[in-house]
């Protein structure tokens, strides 16, 4: 990482039907989290391409967070397994590019997970701010 942001910049991948509504809930209830969090919503976390993740780091993001559906995914029970595989592949790419694998995280966020989302963001923000690698 070239420069450190005063607030670590986090890219979140959410899902249209489950985790993105959860993130909306946090806003609706004015539960605050770092304003350096940017969200891209997709149909399913198992559709995230590792190259997008690498692109985000190259564009100066400090961390990537995957707000997955976990076992609630309506497309496939294999979703957690496939999403994990995407994270592993991304971590390989990240290492090759000198980016610490700790800069990517995942958690299951459901459609009413307003507080858990905000606390994941606060935690991750803290971890990234302290991370030396």
């Amino acid at each position: 990482m070239e420069k450190k942001h005063s607030r670590p910049k986090i890219l979140v991948f959410s899902t249209d039907k489950i985790s993105d509504p959860g993130i909306d809930q946090a806003g609706l209830r004015k539960i605050h989290y770092s304003p350096a969090v940017y969200v891209i919503s997709l149909p399913c976390s198992s559709g995230i391409k590792p190259r997008w993740i690498l692109h985000a780091f190259k564009q100066g993001f400090d961390g990537v967070f995957i707000a997955a559906d976990g076992h609630e995914c309506s497309y496939s029970p294999r979703c957690p397994e496939l999403t994990n595989r995407i994270i592993e592949e991304s971590q390989v790419l990240m290492k090759e590019n000198g980016i610490s694998p700790k800069r990517i995280r995942m958690a299951a966020i459901c459609s009413v997970c307003a507080e858990p989302f905000a606390s994941h963001m606060n935690n991750f923000t803290k971890i990234l701010a302290e991370l030396e690698e």
Partner: protein, 666 residues
């Protein structure tokens, strides 16, 4: 992916949301930032983007300035994505050349504590939206033709009732039953709750009606072997005897019902002591007995019913309550008293769940003198045999866990409903998911209760979970109506957000086909080689196939590399927010006028025009919830459109009246 033609005449609309956004985000600066982006020709602030007046203005801009794409930065797309897609359509541009940017739920509200940073973030979000729309493609809805026919699997009450409804609405119906006879479990039952009709007669009259309808073909001793095709055009292979038939149908209804729970050997003495039987076995006994109730050559003078057998296991497999068994047990006990004299009944229950109208049966049973004892899951009753009698030890929760011993002639295990033992056969063929309880799963229990994730495959009746007859028939009938809504038109429209393969890059490695849960990817010959091809009607657009492709040859419409990476670039650009220009004054240029207000405000204003009202009165009159009224009224108050006008008689609520709004147009 191939280089796409970027959009060059983009219109951007940044919404104040009546202060919900503009109080925290500097919307005027957002407008100027957007104006400087490549391809943007119109950039405006609007008080309420969703208001009719703004929608009209957008259409005027699109047509007058020849726009080729639009961005609205406002609330969550969950609220207004379709509103603005429709605006695009009405104005003559493709609805998929529209992007909604969420600067309310995910910005102004989430970061109302740090307004300056909220503005920085909003600028990133808006730029991302502009980049996304710049790479967006025009998409056409996918049209598939549809066969006006349905296959119904299972001829229990659910399947039979749905078949009749579907036929009467004009569908050809193929009703597939695996047994020799129809009617499912109901056909074996005598008197039913709550109507007191017999199960045999209900099942019989449904069969009579089916026989009269020529557009229903009933196959008994038949099984579904294979299903191919998709919504509108399923091919269902059905085996009857030695013959296999190929049926064509637009949609499929699964109504395969349930199995009664079968107790394990020794569970409460089952298949260990001869006097321990299950509820279905007991019902047969009642129906087949004459004047006296006799089991194993013994006259039955006392019965203990043990409830929740195999159900509500906090540690075991069946965590759910089977909801039908409490009523069935109590109703059975009433039938016993009606038919035979002097039988004592003990009900050993955990909780009684005779919900709704069924409660009267519980009341009647108590009046009959039945004795109710309550046990806890941790300390279940213990059944043993002493001489000719069964002895049951129970710790009764109603008498401070006093240990009691009952002697009875018969023990009835009140068993609940479990999924069919062969339920995986059908779910395997149709690819419909099951829940943790192994019953088939709907998309959403409240909002989409009979649809499955497979387009065109529906579930109804007790294969979804425990249901009594009326609940089973309700869900089966709603599935029938849903099916008819699909098959009644010769063509069906599907959302075009699906996977696409770049044939030049694909080398047919098969990895995408391997992960696809929906069999949507097949081989195709193209450019003299084998490539992957996506079935438009079966693809769900989940995107699972995209990251696994080693050649990066697949993407999902609206989520291409160019669109997603473009968004990331938008977030990454540097943003300068100048300090002095705070949030824009309410109403922007020229103050707020009636026609700029959202629908809810106009309804509130119309109502207040006649006379002042309290929040509960407004809620009642407009049929909206009081929180929504409060929220909108407070915002209207902030903009001096309404004011408080004294308290009501109970000194609890304020009256509100109009302030700066005199004439209310609609």
């Amino acid at each position: 992916m191939e280089e796409k033609q970027k959009k060059e005449r983009i219109g951007v609309y940044i919404c104040h949301c009546g202060g919900n956004i503009s109080d925290y985000v500097d919307v005027a600066q957002m407008r100027d930032i957007a104006k400087n982006e490549d391809g943007v020709v119109v950039s405006k602030n609007v008080m309420f983007a969703c208001a009719d007046s703004n929608q009209k203005e957008m259409i005027k801009d699109i047509q007058g300035q020849n726009l080729d794409a639009i961005v609205v930065a406002s609330c969550s797309p969950k609220l207004h994505l379709h509103t603005f897609r429709n605006v695009a359509s009405r104005a003559g541009i493709n609805p998929y050349n529209y992007t909604q940017v969420n600067i309310r739920e995910q910005c102004s509200w989430a970061h109302s504590d740090t307004p300056k940073e909220a503005s920085v973030k909003a600028a990133g979000l808006i730029r991302a939206g502009i980049h996304k729309v710049a790479y967006s493609e025009a998409l056409e809805n996918i049209e598939v033709s549809s066969t006006r026919a349905a296959v119904v699997i299972g001829a229990g009450v659910s399947g039979m009732r749905a078949a009749i409804a579907l036929a009467k609405m004009g569908n050809q119906v193929y009703l597939i039953e695996k047994e020799k006879t129809t009617g499912g479990h109901v056909a074996n039952l005598g008197k039913l709750f709550v109507t007191e009709q017999s199960g045999k007669s209900i099942a019989g009259s449904l069969l009579e009606e089916i026989k009269k309808i020529t557009s229903i073909t009933l196959f008994t001793e038949a099984s579904v072997e294979k299903v191919s095709g998709s919504l509108g055009n399923f091919k269902v292979d059905v085996k009857t005897g030695t013959e296999t038939l190929h049926l064509a149908a637009g949609a499929i209804l699964v109504a395969t019902g349930f199995d009664p729970y079968q107790p394990k050997e020794g569970e409460f003495g089952y298949s260990q002591f001869p006097g321990v039987i299950t509820l279905p076995e007991f019902r047969e006994l009642i129906d087949n007995s004459g004047e006296t109730l006799i089991y194993n050559n013994r006259k039955i003078k006392s019965i203990a019913y043990i409830y929740c057998v195999g159900m509500r296991q906090t540690k075991g497999e069946n965590k759910y309550c089977s909801r039908v068994c409490c009523t069935t047990a109590i109703h059975s006990s009433l039938l016993v008293h009606e038919k035979f004299k002097n039988v004592t009944a003990y009900h050993l229950y955990r909780d009684i769940r005779t919900y709704g109208k069924q409660e009267v049966l519980y009341e009647q049973s108590s009046k009959n003198g039945d004795i109710y004892l309550k046990y806890e899951e941790k300390t279940p009753p213990v059944v043993s045999q002493e001489g000719n009698h069964l002895v049951i030890k129970i710790k009764d929760e109603l008498t401070r866990r006093q240990e009691m011993e009952l002697e009875t002639d018969l023990v009835v295990l009140v068993t609940g409903m479990v999924p069919r033992s062969d339920h995986e056969a059908i779910s395997g063929i149709l690819k419909i998911p099951a829940g943790n309880d192994k019953f088939y799963n709907e998309i959403h229990p409240k909002l989409r209760p009979v649809e499955t994730v497979i387009n065109g495959v529906f579930i109804g009746g007790s294969c979804q979970g425990p249901k009594n007859i009326s609940e089973s028939v309700q869900s089966a009938l709603s599935a029938a109506v849903k099916i008819n809504a699909l098959t009644k038109n010769p063509t069906i429209n599907l959302e075009p957000i699906i996977a696409r393969v770049n044939f030049e890059a694909c080398t047919w490695c098969g990895k995408c086909a391997e992960v696809c849960e929906y069999d949507a990817i097949h081989q195709l010959e193209m450019y003299g080689k084998i490539v992957a091809s996506v079935n438009e009607a079966t693809c769900k657009g989940c995107g699972m196939c995209a990251p696994v492709c080693p050649a990066d040859a697949i993407d999902i419409a609206q989520y291409s590399n160019a669109e997603i990476e473009g968004m990331i670039d938008g977030f990454a650009q540097k943003v300068e927010i100048s300090e002095e220009a705070g949030a824009e004054a309410a109403g922007g240029e020229g103050g707020i006028t009636m026609k700029d207000m959202p629908q809810v405000w106009r309804r509130i204003a119309s109502s207040l025009e006649t006379d002042p009202k309290t929040i509960p009165a407004l809620a009642k009159e407009l049929d909206l919830n009081p929180e929504l009224i409060t929220y909108n009224l407070m915002t209207m108050n902030k903009y001096s459109l309404v004011e408080a006008a004294g308290m009501d008689d109970s000194d609890e609520y304020y009256f509100y009246k109009l302030k700066n709004l005199k004439h209310v147009e609609n």
